[in-house]
């Protein structure tokens, strides 16, 4: 569409795939180190040779599930509708949502073409969350600002949001899901049906 605004920027919306390794400062704080290590693992997974696409997808899914706090994200994204959902609905929504985002993010995998990641700084949001600011250096064109919101829970780090050029993935998804539910007459079933459709195997 003829949008005058969203530049190359938004594209990267979900580009776990573009993580890379450099610039580990001595004694880098936990969250920074976590993001850098994840970058190394991701790049290794993408660039491994003699592996089928399915194996890559599986490896990506595994990394994704262990690095992202998918439960928290899924609840946040559903917002006020989470509280009204029945136990059954919550369970189905949760599992569908996990598959849905793994699928969505994995698509970006194939577009990896040697970008690198530089971590600039980290700052605290509150006692449990830290934002790790980074830049994705593209091969042509300007670099892309990516902030990783990392939650620390008992020494364990998990990503709860990726903010690309100021655009938060979870806020976008939350507004989108709310819109879907509203248009479906206020029922979470409409969203669940749509997610079911999206994650159906084989296309």
């Amino acid at each position: 569409m003829p949008m005058r605004r969203p530049g190359p920027v938004v594209s990267t919306f979900a580009l776990l795939a573009l993580l890379c390794a450099p610039s580990v400062s001595a004694g880098a704080p936990g969250s920074t180190r976590f993001i850098e290590a994840l970058g190394e693992k991701t790049i290794a997974a993408i660039t491994r040779e003699n592996v089928s696409d399915e194996a890559r997808f599986e490896e990506f899914g595994r990394l994704f599930r262990e690095s992202f706090d998918i439960d928290t994200i899924s609840r946040f994204v559903l917002g006020r509708h989470w509280r009204r959902a029945t136990g059954e609905q919550r369970k189905e929504y949760r599992s569908l949502f996990a598959d849905f985002i793994v699928r969505t993010y994995a698509g970006r995998f194939r577009q990896y073409s040697g970008e690198t990641l530089t971590v600039d700084e980290e700052r605290e949001v509150n006692e449990r969350d830290t934002i790790v600011s980074s830049r994705i250096n593209t091969l042509d064109g300007p670099s892309i600002r990516v902030d990783w919101r990392v939650r620390t829970k008992g020494g364990d780090h998990k990503i709860v949001d990726i903010i690309v050029e100021g655009v938060s993935t979870v806020i976008t998804q939350r507004e989108e899901f709310a819109s879907m539910i509203r248009r479906g007459g206020g029922s979470i079933e409409s969203l669940i049906a749509e997610l079911r459709e999206r994650v159906r195997p084989a296309e």
Binding site: M1, P2, M3, R4, R5, P6, G7, P8, V9, V10, S11, T12, F13, A14, T72, I73, R75, F76, G79, R80, W82, R83, T104, G107, R108, Q111, R123, V125, R128, D129, I131, D140, G141, P142, R145, R149, R151, V160, D161, E165, G166, V167, S168, V170, I171, T172, E175, E176, F177, A178, S179, M180, R182, R183, G186, L191, E194, L195, R198
Partner: protein, 270 residues
């Protein structure tokens, strides 16, 4: 991005007029306080009209803009397209400089001014980027925001895409002041603004083919996705990429039991 001469203003006027007529279609449900708060945060009273416009723009994109952008990318080599981008950015620079100054951003104004001089003189009218200073955009809508003017309801403009009442006003003002369209008016070259806008559209679209495809593929409700992207992107541009001062970072709840307390707060944040 501006510069369709009076066209932008006329279409914006038409959009507003049509939107007002259609407002009646989107009455919020009065029974649920949370639902009302949500609708207020989305601030899209013209949604039925905006969705129609959004679909219209997508149709134009499918049959015209995207194919042209693909062909452009296929035919013109990388360096040629980079020169076009440089040239278009350079043409925008006087307006960017004006907005930098109106916002009191002296350093950024210096960057814009320096880039413009060097690229125009040494870079052959802006075809070459010779300074190494990173390009940044500014527009009147952002300046109005810095001055404290609220964005107002979301709007989807015909052909021009996502906007808001404030940004539409900014676009109109900027179009009137734009040196390119002023020149065209004085010299009676009616085609110039059209060619300029066309080039802007093709240049921007050709750099975003995969991006937009990807966003659309991952979207559950594409209209709502674009609306959210536009708003958040604008907020970020208005702050010039700096972290938000008053922390409109959403509180993301921790455990299920504390959710009911924090969720209410975070949904207000937008």
């Amino acid at each position: 991005m501006t510069s369709t001469g009076t066209f932008a203003i006329r279409t914006a006027g038409a959009a507003l007029a049509a939107g007002v007529v259609l407002t009646a279609c989107a009455i919020p449900p009065a029974d649920d306080a949370e639902a009302r708060a949500e609708l207020a945060a989305i601030n899209d009273p013209l949604e039925p009209f905006n969705r129609a416009m959004f679909e219209f723009n997508r149709a134009v994109d499918r049959v015209l803009l995207e194919p042209v952008a693909r062909a452009y990318r296929g035919v013109v080599p990388d360096f040629g397209r980079t020169m076009v981008t440089n040239f278009l950015n350079n043409l925008k620079s006087p307006m960017i400089l004006a907005n930098d100054l109106l916002q009191g951003e002296k350093d950024r104004a210096g960057e814009t001014g320096g880039r413009f001089m060097a690229n125009t003189i040494v870079g052959l009218g802006g075809l070459f980027e010779v300074t190494g200073i990173e390009f940044h955009d500014e527009d009147l809508g952002q300046t109005l925001a810095v001055w404290g003017i609220d964005e107002g309801p979301y709007l989807v403009l015909p052909l021009l895409g996502p906007s808001s009442v404030r940004d539409t006003a900014g676009l109109a003002g900027q179009t009137l002041a734009d040196p390119v369209s002023r020149y065209a008016r004085d010299a009676e070259h009616a085609a110039v603004p059209w060619i300029h806008s066309g080039m802007e559209a093709i240049d921007a679209r050709s750099r975003n083919i995969e991006t937009l495809d990807e966003i659309e593929r991952g979207a559950i409700d594409f209209y709502a996705t674009v609306r959210s992207l536009y708003r958040q992107r604008r907020e970020d541009e208005i702050r010039n990429g700096r972290p938000p001062r008053s922390a409109p970072i959403p509180e993301i709840p921790w455990d299920e039991d504390e959710e009911s307390e924090t969720d209410r707060a975070s949904s207000v944040v937008k």
